[in-house]
Symmetry: C2
Subunit: 361 residues, 2 copies
């Protein structure tokens, strides 16, 4: 067995230690005689896994008691529809700050249910920056203000929490949650598909201020009701137990490595090294995102032409680096530097980039 | 490592061969240098897994080209809401045949969106039978007729496909799909959470007649739109790839074992043996479901009192049999006999029941 350096944007790399543990107990979880994926979600074994995972996630992210935590089936896109149904009245205004592809997806999912308002957008500039807070036009009657904390495709990230006034701030943290300290109390709702920093694909996390659960929202099935989900500890129906369990192993691993403060240091080191390699290449590699909005998680960059992009992907794969092909919406190369991606992977990538440029530059 | 006989109702037993395969390739899938759970759903590796899984599922279940197949995040409950949104106009009549707990859940999820009509119910008799077809009162204007093919809690199963006239028949097959031959063309929609016969928890399957996708339905987010999901091959957003992959391994295993015809034989043999043990116990074990509606998948039974029920669960666990505690809604014992439960497990259970009765009867 040989493990590659995996720069995939998601589903993404997991720590080898987490996978080894999951492998070793896949046929017999803690002497139960069954896999965790074969055990009832209502049995004492999985109930303990679920409770431990929530407790550890609360520790990792410093989630205050004012906020409930949900573990959801499906990813962030479903939540974008559900938050409109749960927290806005029919046709109520919702303010969206548009900083890339995923901000637009969030608007699209909410559009059938609310009055979608664009408070600010960096689209005219090709999503190379986040909209400056002093340019946002917020609605006085908005149900909430939505931001995408990190844009996985465009490689743009809010480095500070914007202050938004009365309406609660809702944020898609799918690709940057747990990458550094965060004051959760400043948010009405934080949501994230788990398949980047938190763990495996197939489960998501919603962190929601409890008082917001009293909002009436819009007519909806009970399975779409956040308050019902909170009341049933995310077990209104059978949850994705294996994915939840793997998320739990990954959260424990992050705590053991030193928590979000340590991952903030590693993220700075990894992303600084990669941006330095790009900026120091004399224009052979290009990333045009404004310096103060560059994502520490997803670094898209471009070679002089698409033929070289393709060659870069093929040669890096042969050198043991996978997942570097850019998203089809923008092309080029994309290196994702989530918590499970070790510093050595980035060092190897930077070395490969130097070598590639010498051969093809 | 020692594997127990697992009678859990779901999440449920998986074939040991499937788990061994998943374990052996968990850190390096087919020489890619990464786990399948770490690979992009849009990469060639997972796209092949997805395509193979659909092709094999179509073979296993003899799904005609007239029907599309979806692989969904989340389980059956979500689909109960989505089918109302996709196939009924606001407030349109939907006929429900109520044969147990899960039929009622289906009604509850649809209630905010449609005019829920009970075409027939066996609730007055304690859900010990399925409502006889000649007693159903169907609405001429119904969007669809909903049945629960197998009631996992009450242990009641439709042994034949009811003929329903003009409105398409929608059926929850969560706990009996792939347990025997089925004429899919007779259904407008079949849906199933995978965590029983199909494979692991965290993924579901929807089989839907393509012409129904042209129905306008009700205002809804794009992520809730079946037609959009079909058009994007179930990848409108990041799907639960690992669960989908494990489902694929399990479908291949079922084909290798002889397909649904073989599992129908095994299910008859297993359930006959267990019902014979119950009926031959002189009333010590009781199952009161009508003979022609007894489920081949889930066999609930009761001992003379709740204290003996609890002792049975504890002693059977000590004897290497797990997952036998009945659902809290009805109590008692429940043995689930899904495809991955071997005949030997049922033989062991029947032997244990005889022994337990001798000691406590």
């Amino acid at each position: 067995m040989s493990r590659a350096f995996n720069f995939s944007a998601g589903p993404a790399a997991l720590p080898e230690a987490v996978l080894v543990r999951a492998r070793d107990e896949l046929l017999d979880w803690h002497g139960t005689g069954a896999s965790i994926v074969e055990l009832s979600h209502r049995g004492p074994e999985f109930m303990q896994v679920a409770a431990d995972t929530e407790a550890n996630l609360r520790t990792l992210l410093s989630i205050p008691d004012s906020h409930a935590v949900l573990f959801t089936a499906g990813g962030a896109t479903t939540q974008q529809a559900l938050m409109a149904l749960n927290f806005a009245t029919p046709g109520q205004a919702v303010d969206f700050v548009v900083s890339g592809h995923w901000s637009k997806v969030a608007m699209k999912q909410a559009a059938p249910y609310v009055d979608v308002r664009i408070a600010a957008s960096s689209e005219a500039g090709g999503f190379r920056d986040v909209p400056s807070r002093d340019e946002w036009k917020l609605s006085p009657d908005a149900a909430y203000v939505h931001v995408t904390a990190n844009e996985t495709i465009h490689g743009v990230e809010f480095r500070d929490i914007p202050v938004v006034g009365n309406a609660p701030l809702f944020a898609d943290f799918s690709s940057s949650i747990a990458s550094g300290p965060l004051d959760v109390s400043k948010f009405g709702l934080i949501y994230a598909g788990a398949q980047k920093n938190l763990g495996p694909v197939g489960v998501g996390v919603v962190i929601v201020r409890r008082d917001l659960l009293e909002r009436v929202g819009q007519p909806r099935a009970n399975i779409f009701n956040y308050a019902s989900q909170v009341a049933s500890d995310s077990m209104l129906n059978t949850p994705p137990t294996w994915n939840w369990y793997l998320l739990g192993l990954n959260v424990k691993w992050m705590l053991g490595e030193g928590g979000v403060a340590e991952f903030a240091r590693r993220s700075e080191r990894k992303s600084n090294a990669l941006y330095a390699a790009i900026d120091g290449s004399g224009g052979f590699y290009r990333n045009e995102v404004a310096a103060n909005a560059r994502s520490r998680m997803n670094v898209p960059f471009f070679l002089p032409d698409a033929e070289l992009d393709a060659r870069f992907v093929a040669e890096s794969r042969a050198a043991g680096m996978i997942g570097l092909k850019g998203h089809k919406a923008v092309g080029g190369i994309r290196a994702s530097l989530y918590n499970a991606v070790p510093v050595e992977a980035v060092d190897a990538l930077v070395g490969f980039m130097r070598d590639f440029q010498q051969r093809h530059g």
